[in-house]
């Protein structure tokens, strides 16, 4: 029998599989398809202080081995997430969940963090400082060491739960930003958010998505994510949730060898709603094939 358990900041996960924020809603859409309690955890839809419709449509464009989205953090706002979405989530998922929060100012991050801190089912707070689809917020906090550290310090002051900072790959040096977050008190790093990308429609000769650019995700970005996780793993001593293009059990192992303690699955959920279930079912056989008995032993094994 192989052991797939991993530990994130004191929270034991049955396996390292965590559907990524924005690809799994608040869980209940997928709970109609399979028992989502087989997941390690999941990261719920990015939540902001105020309700947001997000960007105008079209918001989706297809790419080679991936897709662009420019949703722009559509969500009902933190109050409704707590009063309407989390009760529904609790009915279908009974493990600690990852709360993904975002903001347009330090105050908004703090506001959301303080509110979500009181929710018992939240095991980890994942602070998104890397959304490429909103202006004047999101990614602007994640593109310098100073502002990344500032957000980290601000939210840490208002919660006792583990705080993971979700980083953008659209920066000159992701390693220094990860280190700045660690020094500011982050309990872990989530990486990577989507890469900036664009498609142009040859018929209209204009960008496909209304926002012109969006976030590129899918199997095409796995090598980028692996390279970045590998480098950050060498520079920090806090756990990494690795993500970017993971679609198979083999990809999960590859990401963990690069240095991830757990992994998030994003775009793959949208193409195959059963992908996380399939990966969890495949994982033991793939571990055996590569002589792995205890999954946590391989974290950072490629170094």
């Amino acid at each position: 029998m192989v052991n797939t358990k991993v530990n994130l900041s004191g929270i034991e996960l049955d396996n390292p599989l965590i559907p990524a924020s924005g690809t799994f809603g608040f869980g209940y859409e997928f709970a109609e398809l399979y028992d989502i309690n087989i997941l390690g955890s999941f990261s719920f839809k990015g939540t902001t202080k105020e309700p947001r419709f997000g960007n105008p449509t079209p918001r989706i464009a297809e790419c080679y081995s991936g897709m662009i989205n420019s949703v722009g953090l559509q969500n009902p706002g933190i109050e409704k997430v707590i009063s309407e979405e989390l009760p529904k989530l609790r009915e279908c998922f009974h493990k600690p969940v990852v709360a993904n929060i975002s903001g347009f100012s330090l105050d908004e991050y703090v506001y959301c963090c303080e509110k979500i801190d009181k929710e018992e089912q939240v095991g980890i707070i994942e602070v998104n400082i890397s959304c490429p689809n909103v202006h004047g917020g999101g990614m602007s906090f994640g593109t310098s060491c100073e502002s990344a550290a500032e957000v980290t310090k601000a939210v840490k002051a208002f919660t006792s739960k583990p705080v993971y900072i979700k980083l953008s790959p659209n920066v000159t040096d992701i390693v220094s930003i990860a280190k700045a977050c660690e020094e500011a008190g982050a309990d872990g790093i989530s990486m990577i958010n989507t890469l900036m990308g664009m498609r142009i429609d040859l018929k209209t000769k204009k960008p496909v998505v209304y926002n012109k650019s969006g976030g590129y995700s899918g199997p095409a970005i796995l090598p980028v994510a692996l390279s970045m996780v590998y480098k950050v793993y060498e520079a920090v001593n806090i756990p990494i949730i690795g993500m970017g293009g993971i679609s198979t059990a083999e990809n999960v192992i590859e990401m963990m060898l690069a240095g991830a303690t757990a992994v998030e699955i994003g775009a793959a959920n949208l193409i195959d709603p059963f992908v996380c279930k399939k990966i969890i079912e495949d994982l033991p056989a793939v571990m055996q094939k590569y002589g792995i008995n205890n999954l946590k032993d391989i974290i950072g094994g490629a170094h």
Partner: protein, 243 residues
Amino acid sequence: MNNVIYTIKSNEKLTENVFKMVFEGDTSAVTASGQFINIKIDSLYLRRPISIFDCKENELTIIYKVVGTGTEMMSKMPVGTKLDVLVGLGNGFDTSVSGDNPVVIGGGVGVPPMYYLAKKLIAEGKKVTAILGFNKADEVFGKEDFEAIGCRTIVTTVDGSMGVKGFVTDALKDIDYSYFFTCGPEPMLKALYNASETSGQFSFEERMGCGFGACMGCSCKTKYGNKRICKDGPVLVKEEIIW
């Protein structure tokens, strides 16, 4: 929603760029007309959402237009090809509010979902008129199918080369109807919104990521709040639409 492997039973050309594909496989997830399926094509990342033309036990038919790489690849698929399909997506039409003599109005590739809807309405004992709008005679398809199930069928063509000359709204003004259902290009839907004298249901299209409500890629604003075209739609009622 079910994830089913479908086998292509036939793939036939109807007009220059419109094809009819019949699948064999489980259709139990289809609960209403106006729902759609989402087809995975090898080598392409996103699935292709396509409306349901007809549905029986273990057999589902779509009519699709070649508009890009995916549908072009589909048009060349031989009989026997197996496809990974998500079946029974979207809310579909609510036929319970149609009254005794509803009209179904399709424009171009908006015609196909009207057929399965018309079949359902007729099965419920209603007297159904179908208005099928096209640009010109050689683009017309489906007319005989609607006639065969007992619909009074009116074809309109913009150039007048078949049926009523003009738009679907030109045909609509000459008939009596208790309610309407429609699918087609957005300018047509908007014209119907303004020209119609009763309530009705509109089926919308949008670029989708997942097709089952997870990604929020196809959201729209309605008078009843934000909705996802793929999950809360594609059918919206006239009263909730904001143009």
